[in-house]
């Protein structure tokens, strides 16, 4: 087992190197660089550009250096914990991400709790009451949830809130708390504002989870051991809780792998629409304006979380499900 873990951890190193090369290349693929898109943007707004300033910035940011050198500089910096410099904000990447990361984690975490709290009971109900009216009704809602894109739902809610209730939504706290240090009032304000993004972002996740839980549970419910347990006279709830539900949870554990990066990145498009101060819109903007170190370091961080998440969920599966064996005789 230990050997397996070590092997997996070591494998992460070449994986991360490969990812970093791919990330860097893809960010560099669109023509031009940050300064050129900066000039183009200014001109689209009718503003003028001082060529001398641009020359200074080009040299200062090292954009005149060959790509390989830029990459090596960035990669070496990351090893030392220096994630580079954001051109757009004119400050180190870590400082830019700072507070946003915290808010993103809050929103995502609450969203995940919301998803679980809603999806579990409904999923179990529709599996145990298959083809009942309740199942049909909830499945219908579930399909709606999957089919409606989050950002669309966000737009509709925003419009309704504005026209019917005359309130403006968006943002994660009352304006007076933005940029202020954390206080109890600020926390309350965040909680008050966060339910809309939580519902909007959570809907499709909830719907998806209901479907998966239902399908997995249905598979298990028809197996012989369930019949045996019932025949032996176990109460139906206990049967459900003790055997098929636990079996059906494998998908849930393997989901953890993708959950970690999701917590950090938030739902980009929805966050843009709701103008949430999370990291999603920032990543999107960084990619648009080719702020390459900000975008690159952020993507690397996400990639790292995925790699770690997959490892964690693999290990958890091994630990929790005795049917899973380590292949290749490693831990035999």
């Amino acid at each position: 087992m230990l050997q397996y873990v070590v092997k997996r951890v070591l494998l992460m190193i070449p994986t991360m190197i490969a990812i970093s090369i791919i990330v860097f290349t893809i960010i560099q693929l669109p023509p031009g660089n940050y300064l050129e898109s900066y000039i183009a943007e200014l001109q689209a707004q009718g503003e003028s550009v001082d060529p001398q300033k641009i020359a200074f910035l080009r040299e200062y940011y090292g954009l005149d250096k060959p790509l390989v050198e830029q990459y090596l500089r960035w990669a070496a910096g990351m090893l030392r914990g220096d994630f580079g410099y954001s051109f757009e904000f004119n400050m180190p990447v870590t400082k830019v991400v700072g507070d946003r990361m915290f808010l993103t984690i809050i929103v995502s975490f609450v969203t995940i709790l919301f998803t679980w709290a809603v999806a579990f009971p409904i999923g179990i109900y529709s599996a145990t009451h298959q083809y009942s009216w309740g199942d049909y009704g909830l499945s219908f809602l579930g399909f709606l949830g999957i089919a409606i894109p989050n950002f669309m739902l966000a737009l509709v809610i925003m419009y309704v809130a504005n026209v019917v209730f005359g309130t403006s939504i968006g943002g994660l706290m009352s304006p007076e708390y933005i940029g202020k240090p954390w206080s109890w009032d600020k926390v309350k304000s965040v909680l008050e504002h966060s339910w809309i993004p939580v519902v909007v972002i959570g809907t499709s996740g909830t719907a998806g989870m209901i479907r998966r839980l239902r399908a997995n549970l249905l598979d298990e419910l028809q197996k012989a051991y369930v019949v045996t347990a019932r025949a032996k006279g176990l109460p139906p709830r206990k049967v459900l809780r003790k055997y098929p539900l636990r079996m059906a949870l494998n998908f849930f554990i393997s989901d953890i792998g993708s959950l970690l990066p999701h917590i950090i990145s938030g739902a980009e498009i929805t966050a843009v629409v709701l103008s949430l101060p999370t990291t999603g819109p920032m990543l999107l903007n960084a990619l648009k304006s080719q702020d390459m170190y900000l975008a690159g370091s952020f993507l690397m961080f996400l990639a790292f979380l995925i790699v770690v998440g997959v490892l964690v969920s693999d290990l958890a599966l091994v630990a929790l499900d005795p049917r899973i064996r380590l292949q290749g005789g490693v831990a035999r």
Partner: protein, 636 residues
Amino acid sequence: MNALIVRTAALLALLPLLAGPAVGAEEPPNIAAAVAAGQLPPLTARLPRVPLVFEAPRSDWTLGRYGGEVRTLMAKDRDIRMMVVYGYSRLVGYDEQLRLTPDILEKVDNVDSRIFTLHLRPGHKWSDGKPFTAEDFRYYWDDVAHNKDLSPFGLPQALLVNGHAPKFEVLNETTVRFTWQEPNPMFLPALAAPSPLYIYRPAHYLRQFHAHYAGVEKANALAVEAGSRSWAGLHQKKDEQFRFDNPDLPTLEPWKNTTPLPSTRFVLERNPYFHRVDSTGRQLPYIDRIIVGITDDKLIPAKAGAGDVDLQVRYLRFDNYTFLKQSEKRNQYHVRLWEKALGSQIALYPNLNAEDAEWRKLMRDVRFRRALSLGINRHEVNEVVYFGLGRESSNTILQRSALFRPEFRAAWTKFDVKAANALLDSIGLTRRDAAGLRLLPDGRPMELVIDTSGESTEETDVLELIRDSWRQLGIAMFSRPSQREVFRKRVFSGKSMMSVWSGLSNGIPTPDMSPGELAPTTQEQLQWPMWGQYYEQNRKGGEAPTSPDVVELVKLFEEWRNSGSADEREKIWLRMLTINANEVYTIGIVTRALQPVVVRDNLRNVPVEGIYSWDPGAYFGMYHPDTFWIDTAGRR
């Protein structure tokens, strides 16, 4: 010694009582408490001895009341710089009649556009209360502009005349002088630009980051601590008067930024040392606070329509007009239509540096460009795409400008297929293929591809209409939408034959403004990027122009740069406009483009009709947002 200074200061403080209109003027209420508590000096000690007295610029302008906040939206943190543009506090600035008038400066003495003596306002202070003096100019000149680390590329272009730097002198505490050997008409317009030439720095603040004053080691240590590579990097970062991203940097603008990047909400507070007063001696600005929210640019029209802003112009487009108008009543605002100062809302740019030799030859042939211009049904475009609100025009300056002549606008704009065909025949493009398309001399059919930046459907709609009329000339036209950066690359490298963009950016020039847009001066000019690059890089890169008319334009531009007299500059302007109109280097289609402006009902002094222009104008800047005010009585 100290007593003497105190006594002098007290005497000086009394001076405005004798001279200025500031007698007994009320304090802005939101800082009155701070003044009473002694945290801020009283009004007379905060204002310069001779403040700028703001006179009513138009009949509907009224004296205001203090208080309130104005909310506006921007799309990126970086856009906070727009507040420097709107604030428009400059050494000299344009007024609403586009006259250059002293603003921060008390006066400017100008001898032949060669010797400029700048007189500061004695007693003028930075937003932190420290004096603003000639030392701030000297610091820029000696320690920034002439420092190899801070200015590795030398002086800014606007300070150089034929490559020569001026002589800089400090005459006394409030007077500095710049002297050039030859005239420099670019100097004052550069100081008045929305993104101005800053020839002064808050020296008392920046010294702590400068190796010369703090010591190299200490300055570098400070820089490393702040995450910069060297002291020069940190100095640059702290010293961004235009970026407005350093709340600690003292400013002369009406409002100072109090929020560091990154944020989704920026708060700008009144600068208690601002140098302008209204005619009753009350210090401007009237409005206490500006709140800048950051949201996605595509959401800004929606949020403006939802009543989330008090004043908004940026990121609103003409096609949002009907939507915005719809919820005007419900959300208590007005949508106004201001005129953009563009020479043409939309213009075609034949690429005179196209890679393809056959096409390049045609693009350089004036008969071809004229034929294309005659082959556009501008009336139809105006009616179909612009609801008839535009005006059919070539790409030239607007009627508002004193330099305007009707013949510039009319040149080669009348829809005349017959004349256009005759012109094409005279070039020798007489052979046609079976479909009726004219053939190039090498036998290829004339299929003209126009590059667009792919940002608006407006461009493609217009091109669609032009395609039909050009078909009657025997020319097939295709549009090739791409993406902004790709678009620019294709044009600069000559891969694109023709492109579409907006026309002249300054349609309301005076003879004192640079005619640089009319001659090749920079690579950014889509009709001759390589010729522009040639002059931009001091005849090192790009290509030298061959066409005699273009060479003449360059010569005229250089004459303008070296001209000391206003009459001569006007003559040069007119000549350059005439050449551009005759040669049709760019094909303008309609002008009088409109820009929606959303204004809260109770916000006063925002003009009903205005010009929306970057330079000159600084968007709102020219209309002095420091005199906008909120009428709380009118809220009902």
